[in-house]
Amino acid sequence: MKKETWKELPIGTVNTQAGNSVVNLTGTWRSGRRPEFIEKNCIQCFFCWVYCPHFAIMVKDGKVTGINYDYCTGCGLCAEECPTKEKAIVMVAEEIKLAAGRKQ
């Protein structure tokens, strides 16, 4: 992506590209741990969805279906708040490829 020169930027730190998180994958900051969704333990209480600060809990047809790792920062709130006895979200060591050339 071509980055603007200082003369091309709108005044005063204004960002006119609404919704630019489509291209800015904030999940690439994640390091160390990531949440893992275990569907069979899930009671669909939506606590994880409410608490996730990055809207990274994926929902389809009214049901939690997993985690969007493009935006999940690995904060662990969802796993902490998941109320089931056998947790439906657990934090595991990071394994997936984050950004080009980076793997743990």
Partner: protein
């Protein structure tokens, strides 16, 4: 019609605020500028102004309210001094970085410790690199005139930069002088409307203000911010001229007093310049070729113009009402000395710190400085680069 009134500095600024009637005023009272905030509050209670008056729990919050209100698209101001300005610190940078033309009236006062409520320039000099435009006033009239012009300068579309207007604590804030007030309508007309480029209350456009920048954008945004204040000199000049045409009192970057054939010059800002004029008059009657240069605009620093005005002098004393511990001179001095660097033939320069914590500076002190300047001019030598005036040694 103009009205002539007897007002002190604080009352003068309050009158200007009443005439301008900004959309939002957010301020916290602090000596010696408390009367500005109190008077604005009573104006609001009496229905003399329509703008929102917000008195939050601290100056940090006052500047935060200003930033929010200005981001929304309002014409916004605050008033503070000393510790209050210091408490606004991080928000000052944010106001400048977001390019919000907030206007702040600053009654210049010393900073603790030791605690002191009297006038010096430590507060605004400490804020000299926050990105704000800084204008200093000699007396009540100049405070009024500068405060009105500040809105026009800061809100100019090429500038969009916050402006602080200073005048000396107690010496001006609490001393009554004859002040010419312009007609309310004339002041409003001079200032005109503020058209913010990205008001958050405009919901027809999608944008966000002040998101995080990483290593890939912060530098570009900072460079873009610098452009605002770099664009301001022609605007300051134009507004000063137009103010003169409209109200009969023109303004430039600095005032020159008896500088035409001067060989020696004293540079001093704000109220002490008034005393210095008396000293210059007395010295002139004794046949000394001495003049005064009184800077008005400190940020942006008019380095080329000041250097041109001083380059032919034999010796120049720069008087600072603040100190810069550990630097080789106080703020005004280092700027001016650096401004003269490119001239092959340049005056000898000496720096004097005076008036910290409100310590008096009198005609006799300026005459002492003139004596020292004569010796420097004769010998071509500056024995002590930095001295102190009226300090018990």
């Amino acid at each position: 019609m103009k009205t002539t009134k007897i007002l002190n500095g604080n009352q003068t600024i309050a009158e200007a605020v009443r005439q301008i009637d900004p959309d939002v005023i957010a301020a916290y009272p602090i000596t010696p500028s408390t009367a500005i905030v109190e008077t604005i509050a009573s104006f609001r209670a009496d229905g003399l102004i329509t703008g929102e008056f917000v008195c939050p729990e601290s100056e940090h919050s006052a500047m935060s309210v200003c930033i929010g209100a200005a981001s929304a698209g309002g014409r916004v101001m605050t008033a503070t001094c000393s510790q209050g300005l210091a408490l606004m610190w991080e928000m000052l940078y944010i106001a400048a970085g977001l390019r919000l033309p907030i206007v702040a009236s600053i009654v210049n006062r010393a900073l603790s410790a030791p605690i002191n409520i009297h006038g010096d320039h430590s507060d605004t000099m400490g804020a000299r690199d926050t990105g704000w435009i800084q204008i200093y006033s000699e007396n009540c009239q100049e405070a009024y005139d500068n405060f009105i012009q500040a809105f026009r300068i800061g809100e100019h579309p090429d500038v969009l930069t916050p402006v602080m207007v200073g005048f000396d604590g107690f010496i001006i804030s609490h001393s009554a002088e004859v002040v010419e007030l312009e007609e309310d309508a004339a002041v409003k007309k001079f200032i005109g409307d503020f058209k913010p480029p990205f008001p958050l209350l405009d919901t027809s456009r999608k944008f966000t203000v002040g998101p995080i920048d990483f290593t890939d954008y912060y530098f570009e945004h900072k460079r873009s911010q610098i452009e605002g204040i770099e664009n301001s000199p022609p605007v300051i000049e134009e507004v000063g001229k137009e103010f003169g045409k409209t109200f009969g009192r023109p303004y430039g970057f600095f005032e020159e007093y008896k500088m035409d054939d001067a060989e020696l010059a004293i540079v001093v800002m704000s109220s002490a310049a008034g005393t210095c004029k008396d000293a210059v008059d007395e010295l002139r009657s004794e046949g000394k070729r001495i003049g005064l240069l009184k800077p008005r605009v400190f940020r942006p620093f008019p380095h080329l113009k000041i250097a041109e005005a001083l380059k032919k002098m034999k010796a120049v004393a720069v008087l600072d009402r603040s100190s810069a511990p550990g630097a080789f001179g106080a703020p005004l001095f280092t700027e001016i000395r650096s401004a003269l660097y490119d001239y092959e033939k340049r005056p000898k320069l000496v720096n004097y710190v005076y008036g910290l914590g409100g310590r008096d500076i009198k005609v006799e002190h300026f005459k002492d400085v003139a004596g020292k300047l004569e010796r420097i001019a004769d010998s071509g030598k500056v024995d002590e680069l930095l001295g102190y005036i009226n300090l018990r040694e």
